[in-house]
Symmetry: C2
Subunit: 419 residues, 2 copies
C-alpha cells in the first residue's frame, strides 16, 4: 500500500510512463513513489506555493504528501520540519495550516492518475530536481521552485537551458518589435544560445520561430498543461518546438492556463535562463513581470530601446530608466549580458506582483479566485477553493473584495464573474 492507498505496482507503472525519456522507466518503489508524489503535488499546489515547496524540500515529496493525506495538523508538520533541521519560526504552523486548507480540496488520486495517463498518452515526461537534465537555474527560486516539471521534446533542449537567454515581449508587437526579435533570436542562436520564451503571440512567437528557422534550440514555458497548446493559434509552432526543442510546464496535463499561472510561469522563464531580454513592451506589459523576476533573482536583465514615440517601447525604456536594465541593441550586446551575471544584486527591484504584473490593485488571492470563476457556470466556495488552490476562508475573503469591486456576483447556486 502506497500513496492514496494505491498498490506499489500501480504507482511504479504510472510513474514509469512519464519517466521513459528522462530516466530509467523501471524504477524501485521508492523512486516511483517520489515521482508519483511530485506529479501529485504539481496538481495539488498552485505554482510558486512556498509552503508546499518548503514541505517537499524538508520532508521529501512522498512523506509530505502522506502527511497531508494522514490529516496532520500545521503544528505537527512544522515540528517535523524542525526535526529535519529547518528553522522553526513562530508563524510556520499557521502558514502550514493555511497550506493544508488550500491543498485538501485537491487531494484526489483520480486526478493524479488521469494527469499521469494523459502525459503518457502525449509522450510528456516528468522531470524531478535530481535529474541530470533538470534546469538548475530554477533552484534559485528556493521554496518557490517548481516541485517537478512536465515537458515534451528532446532532452538536449533541457540540458542546453544552462546556456539560454529569454527573449520576451508584447503580444501586440509592432513590425519593428518583430524584426528586432527575429534578429536577436537568430543572432543568439548563431552564438550558441538556446532561446527561451513563452509561446505567446507577438514577440514570443517570433523569438521561437526565428530560433527554429536558424536551426537553433528553443524552449517554451507554458502556463497550462503541456498537452494543450496555448494559444491555439500557435498550435503548429508549439508542435514544432516540441519536436526539435522542448515545451515545459509545472502544471499537470489537463490544467488550464490562468492569469496567476501566467505570472508564475514568468518566474520560471526568468529563473531557467541565464539572462532575460525584453524586446518590446508597453508601460504595463506582462513581460515587465518576467523582467522583475529576473532582477529579483539577480539575473542580468536587458531591454531593447525603440522609438520614444512608440507606446510598445515605453516598458523597455522604463526598465532602462527605473530598473537598471542594460540597454541592448544587438545580439552581441545581449550575449554580453551573460558575462555580467550577478553584477546587479543591489538594484531596486521592480514590483513583481504589483501593478506592473497587471494585477490592477488586486491581491494575489483575488486574482486566483477571479481566475477560478466562470461567467456562466455558478461555482460554490469549496469548488472555487479547489480550482484556485486556496482555502475556503481565503476564497470567501477574496470574493467579498471582488463583490465590492463589482466584478463578481452571487447566484443561488454559487458565484459567477460579472454583474
Amino acid at each position: 500500500m502506497m500513496l492514496f492507498g494505491l498498490e506499489e505496482s500501480t504507482v511504479i507503472s504510472l510513474a514509469g510512463g512519464v519517466r521513459a525519456s528522462a530516466g530509467p522507466a523501471v524504477m524501485d518503489a521508492a523512486a516511483a513513489a517520489d515521482v508519483f508524489a511530485r506529479a501529485a503535488w504539481t496538481g495539488i499546489a498552485e505554482p510558486g506555493d512556498g509552503a508546499a515547496g518548503l514541505l517537499v524540500q524538508g520532508l521529501g515529496a512522498g512523506p509530505a504528501l502522506t502527511a497531508v493525506l494522514d490529516l496532520w495538523t500545521g503544528a505537527r508538520l512544522a515540528a517535523a520540519l524542525a526535526a529535519a533541521g529547518w528553522p522553526l519560526t513562530d508563524d510556520l504552523p499557521a502558514q502550514l495550516e493555511q497550506g493544508l486548507q488550500r491543498w485538501r480540496p485537491r487531494l484526489s488520486s483520480a486526478e493524479v492518475i488521469r494527469s499521469l495517463q494523459q502525459a503518457t498518452r502525449v509522450s510528456a515526461g516528468l522531470l524531478v530536481p535530481t535529474d541530470p537534465s533538470w534546469p538548475t537555474g530554477v533552484d534559485d527560486l528556493a521554496i518557490h521552485a517548481p516541485i517537478a516539471l512536465w515537458w515534451r521534446g528532446v532532452p538536449t533542449a533541457l540540458t542546453a537551458l544552462s546556456n539560454s537567454i529569454a527573449l520576451v515581449g508584447a503580444r501586440a508587437a509592432t513590425g519593428y518589435g518583430e524584426h528586432v526579435a527575429m534578429e536577436a533570436s537568430a543572432g543568439l542562436v548563431d552564438r550558441g544560445f538556446l532561446i527561451v520564451s513563452g509561446a505567446a503571440y507577438g514577440i514570443d512567437g517570433m523569438a521561437h520561430r526565428a530560433a527554429l528557422a536558424s536551426s537553433g534550440l528553443t524552449v517554451a514555458f507554458l502556463a497550462g498543461g503541456v498537452d494543450r497548446y496555448y494559444p491555439s493559434g500557435h498550435d503548429t509552432l508549439l508542435s514544432r518546438i516540441a519536436t526539435v526543442g522542448a515545451i515545459v510546464s509545472e502544471l499537470p496535463c489537463g490544467a488550464a492556463p490562468t492569469k496567476w499561472r501566467f505570472l508564475q510561469r514568468n518566474r520560471l522563464i526568468a529563473a531557467a535562463s541565464a539572462a532575460t531580454v525584453v524586446l518590446e513592451a508597453g508601460w504595463r506589459s506582462g513581460s515587465l513581470n518576467t523582467a522583475g523576476h529576473a532582477a529579483a533573482l539577480g539575473r542580468p536583465l536587458g531591454a531593447v530601446p525603440g522609438p520614444v514615440t512608440s507606446p510598445t517601447s515605453a516598458g523597455c525604456h522604463r526598465l532602462i530608466r527605473e530598473y537598471d536594465a542594460v540597454c541592448v541593441t544587438t545580439a552581441a550586446e545581449m550575449a554580453e549580458l551573460v558575462g555580467e551575471r550577478m553584477l546587479n544584486l543591489t538594484l531596486d527591484l521592480p514590483p513583481v506582483d504589483g501593478d506592473t504584473a497587471g494585477f490592477g490593485g488586486r491581491t494575489s488571492e483575488q486574482v486566483r479566485v477571479f481566475d477560478a470563476l466562470s461567467t456562466r457556470a455558478a461555482r460554490t466556495v469549496p469548488d472555487i477553493a479547489r480550482r484556485a488552490g486556496l482555502s475556503t476562508s481565503a476564497v470567501q475573503g477574496a470574493l467579498g473584495a471582488l463583490d465590492l469591486e463589482g466584478v463578481v456576483r452571487e447566484k443561488e447556486t454559487g458565484w459567477v464573474r460579472g454583474r
Copy 2:
C-alpha cells in the same frame, strides 16, 4: 600709455563700444584695460588654452598681456604666478614657455582693434567673468574656462542660462530625430527652461526653432565670431536668435570656425547648461563630444533612445550603455535631469578628444594645424603657427606627421592641404 602702447583714451573708447549692453559704457582706465586685454586674449589664445587661462586667472588679464608683450620668459611668468599664490609645479615654466611661443605670433594690436570695431559695428558685446550676466556654469572649466565671451542678443537670455538644458544631436537628423527635438524643446520651454544648442543643421536647428516657435528663450554657442553666421543656411535662424535670445562665442569677430573650435565650443555648451541631452547621434557623432564634456563636468547627461535599426540612434544607445547617460523619452524626464545634478561624479568618462571627437587618430595639434591650412593658398610655418595658435616648433612637428599621413604637402611658398 597702456597695452600695446595705445593711449588710455583709445582703450577706454574701444572697450566702451563693446560694453554698452552689459555694463557701464563709461569706464575707468583700469576696467577698460581689463576689457581690452580680455578681448585681446580671445584672439591670442585658442579656446580652452589652459596656460593662458592660468596666466589670466593668476595675474589678471592686463598684467598677463603686458608680461607677454614685455617678453617675459616662462620662468619669470611661473615665478609671478607662484608669488600670486598658485602652486609652482616643475613643468610650469616649460608649459608657459610653450604658451608664449603659441601666443607671440598673434600679438597684434591691429587685430584686437579690428575685432573690437567690428563687434561695435554689429552690436556685439563682450562679457567678462565679473559681469552679473556671466554664465557662471563655464567657471567649472577652471583654467580652461573662457577668458571672455562675445555675444549678441538680449541680456535676459544670458541670465536664464542658469536654468537651461542643452539639446544637441546629429546634423544628418532623421524625421524621427527632428520630431523628438521639436517635442523636447517645446516641452522644456513650457517648463521654463532656456534651450542651448549649437545652431548646426539637423537636431540643433530644430531645437532652436521649436524654442522660438514656443516663444521661449534660446542661446546658440558658435565656433567662430558672432559677426559671421555659421552655417550660412541658418542665417535667418541665427538672426532671429540674436533678436530674441542670444548668440555667444569665445572667438572674436572675424574668427572662422575650425574643427578645433567646434570641439571647444562643445565644452561651452555642456558647461553653460544645467544638463545636456543628446537627441539623435551616430556612433561617432560630434554631439558625443558635448556629452563627454557634460559627463566630465559632472553635469547630468541624458540620451533619447530610438530604433536600434537606425544608425542615427546608435550614439545615443552607446551613451546609455557605456557612459551611464540617463535614458530620457519625454520633456518631463529631461527636466528631471536637472534635479539630479552632480550625482554622476564617479562615472567613467568618455574620451573627450579621442576618436569620439572625430580626430581620427590625430593629436589635437595636428587637428589645429590641418584646420589652419588651405587647399589653395600655400602658408608658411609662422603663418600657420599664428592661425593655429601654436608655436612654430609644434607646427613643424604636426606638419611632419600630416605629411607622412599624406594629407598635406609642401610647395615652394609654403604648405597646403591635400596631395
